[in-house]
């Protein structure tokens, strides 16, 4: 019910209507304009909860036969388009790790927080893509309280250990800090 109410607010922004593919999660019986608006909005805010997305990723990863397939997938994710706009790859957005570097940018969109990020190492970047898929587009509350169990479940825990020093752990902390800061507002 709440979602519907919010969707009304967004319906009038034209780019939402134009860009979108119908979402399979919604019945086709819904009036078209309404339907598109809802699906776009859902896409924006993540129509799934943080935990639902985590479970979805865990499910996807369960199909990989061995570590090679898993890493090839992560490397692929990492090689895709830059996740952050070039202008944000500066000192201000840099999270320094000993091993690799990470850039993080947070935007507020209504009561959702939208993250973009990047790294100089492709494996780090691939994992960033997963973290963003899970955390971006949720409320500050949800981000601040998120328990990122999927990392452990898909066998990538080592990449978020403090000794790894690749910037990822600091990035997650930073994401949650944004959540906390916005929550406090």
């Amino acid at each position: 019910m709440q979602i519907l109410k919010k969707s009304v607010r967004l319906r009038f922004e034209p780019e939402f209507v134009l860009e979108l593919e119908p979402s399979p999660h919604h019945p086709l019986t819904t009036p078209r304009y309404h339907y598109i608006t809802i699906s776009r909005y859902h896409h924006m805010i993540n129509h799934m909860t943080i935990n639902e997305i985590q479970d979805e990723i865990i499910d996807e990863f369960s199909f990989f036969g061995d570590w090679m397939e898993k890493y090839e997938y992560i490397i692929d994710l990492g090689k895709q388009l830059p996740l952050i706009e070039e202008q944000y790859k500066d000192e201000e957005h840099l999270i320094k790790g000993c091993q690799s570097q990470v850039w993080l940018q947070a935007d507020q969109n209504g009561d959702q927080v939208v993250f973009t990020a990047d790294s100089d190492a492709v494996i780090t970047k691939g994992i960033i893509a997963l973290l963003i898929r899970v955390l971006s587009g949720h409320s500050a509350n949800a981000i601040a309280d998120a328990d990122l169990y999927f990392i452990n479940k898909i066998g990538l825990k080592e990449h978020l250990s403090p000794t790894r020093s690749n910037g990822l752990l600091s990035m997650v902390k930073q994401m949650k800090m944004y959540g906390l800061a916005l929550q406090a507002k």
Binding site: S100, V122, I123, T124, N166
Partner: protein
């Protein structure tokens, strides 16, 4: 030159290191990170065990037999360290936590006594952070300046520049014997001789030299020489600072506390004599004793055998790596020991290291605590394979195969 046949069977030596039997990520481990910390032979592990089971008591303070025994074993460790580096006297062998503490001790104590505003400390462009930061700290405190001997592309010190930098303002020179990132063996004897001509003392960071070559501090005429036990097959937490008596006598104590005092009143304390003046508090007793065992262990293998074996492996690894397309070796000095750093074109060291890890190959990636050096090369870091005498040709073959596979995945 006639090649002396080496009597030591290195495969047997390898079997002395129990850790090398384990697996990493489900594969037999290929350990190529000995420059960070070496593995320990069974003899050292047994010694630690035996100490805590049979000998444990504080040293230098008990009248009872057990404490006497511990003290004797502890001081025997000092004798072994002395003969290992051919120090002139036991007073010149100070136990510290490791290289880092050895350098901090000298920087702080020598610096407080001898550094004035406007003076200079001369280090090199390839120093480990632990031979940079302590000097920066004391320079800041004393108003002195840090100067840096530059290097060439191969990773060799520019000795002409060194001559220019060695002015009367320089109060101490501190350089590494072997670079942990590049493997370069520096001409430390020449550096020491030149500095001494101007009356300037020299500290040598021996962390990466001691595990691989014979070091004779008197022959080098080094004023200070420091190294870590854990990189030379001994335990963590113990290291040695060698210092010439004439300097150590003049320098103020570093830490205050028990052991380092002669008499204490609230008005005035007089200090114990060398080496105890620099060993405040209960020392790492088991560490010293087991370090002695590591020294004995290295001596039974012999420096010649160690050097020959490692040289061969380094040569082999370098040649094999060069044959892989897109590999760039960082550090191509004439004189090198046991370290090969490299980059694969277009691939971040972290990514390469991660894939190698999955293949059971332990290498180090990153800046290796030599950030200024990486900045000089304009690279974020390297992948570093570092050797010890327990490595073999098979380890190198697995590394090469792993690098090829990683490049295929990442490239």
């Amino acid at each position: 030159m006639i090649k002396v046949p080496i009597a030591v069977d290195m495969e047997k030596v390898r079997a002395d290191f129990p850790l090398l039997n384990r697996e990493m990520n489900g594969k037999p481990i290929v350990f190529l990170d000995s420059a960070a910390s070496s593995q320990k032979p069974q003899a050292v592990i047994d010694q630690l065990d035996a100490y805590y089971k049979q000998q444990n008591a504080n040293v230098h303070r008990g009248v009872y037999q057990l404490s006497q025994e511990a003290t004797t074993a502890f001081e025997k460790g000092r004798e072994l360290a002395k003969s290992f580096i051919n120090a002139g006297s036991l007073k010149e062998v100070i136990f510290v936590r490791g290289t880092t503490e050895g350098i901090n001790l000298v920087a702080s104590s020598f610096g407080r006594k001898f550094l004035q505003a406007g003076d200079e400390v001369l280090i090199s462009a390839m120093e480990h952070h632990s031979n940079i930061v302590p000097w920066q700290m004391i320079c800041e405190e004393r108003g002195a300046k840090l100067k840096v001997i530059p290097i060439n592309e191969a990773g060799e010190l520019l000795m002409d520049e060194f001559d220019q930098l060695l002015t009367e303002k320089v109060k101490i020179v501190a350089v590494t014997h072997v670079s942990n990132t590049l493997g370069t063996i520096n001409p430390v004897k020449e550096i020491i001789d030149k500095a001494h001509q101007k009356g300037v003392p020299v500290l040598i960071d021996g962390a990466q030299a001691i595990p691989h070559m014979k070091v004779d501090v008197q022959e080098l005429d080094a004023d200070f020489y420091t190294f870590s036990g854990h990189k030379m097959f001994g335990p963590t937490g113990i290291g040695v600072l060698y210092g010439k008596e004439e300097w150590l006598e003049q320098m103020p104590p570093y830490h205050g506390g028990g052991e380092m005092i002669e008499t204490v009143t609230f008005e005035k304390t007089t200090y114990n004599e060398l080496p105890h003046k620099f060993e405040a508090g209960t020392p790492d007793i088991s560490g010293v004793i087991a370090l002695g065992t590591a020294i004995q262990y290295m001596q039974t293998i012999g420096h010649e055998a160690i050097q020959e074996h490692e040289h061969e492996l380094l040569q082999y690894a370098t040649e094999q790596l060069k044959q892989i397309e897109g590999i760039r070796i960082i550090g191509t000095a004439e004189q090198k020991a046991s370290v090969v750093s490299f980059l694969a074109e277009g691939i971040h060291p972290y990514d390469l290291g991660t894939i190698l890890d999955k293949l059971g190959i332990a290498v180090r990636t990153g800046h290796h605590c030599t950030q200024p050096l990486m900045d000089w090369y304009g690279i974020p870091g390297t992948v570093r394979a570092s050797l010890a005498f327990y490595n073999n040709k098979e380890d190198i073959d697995k590394l090469i195969e792993g690098v090829k596979r990683a490049i295929k995945m990442l490239g």
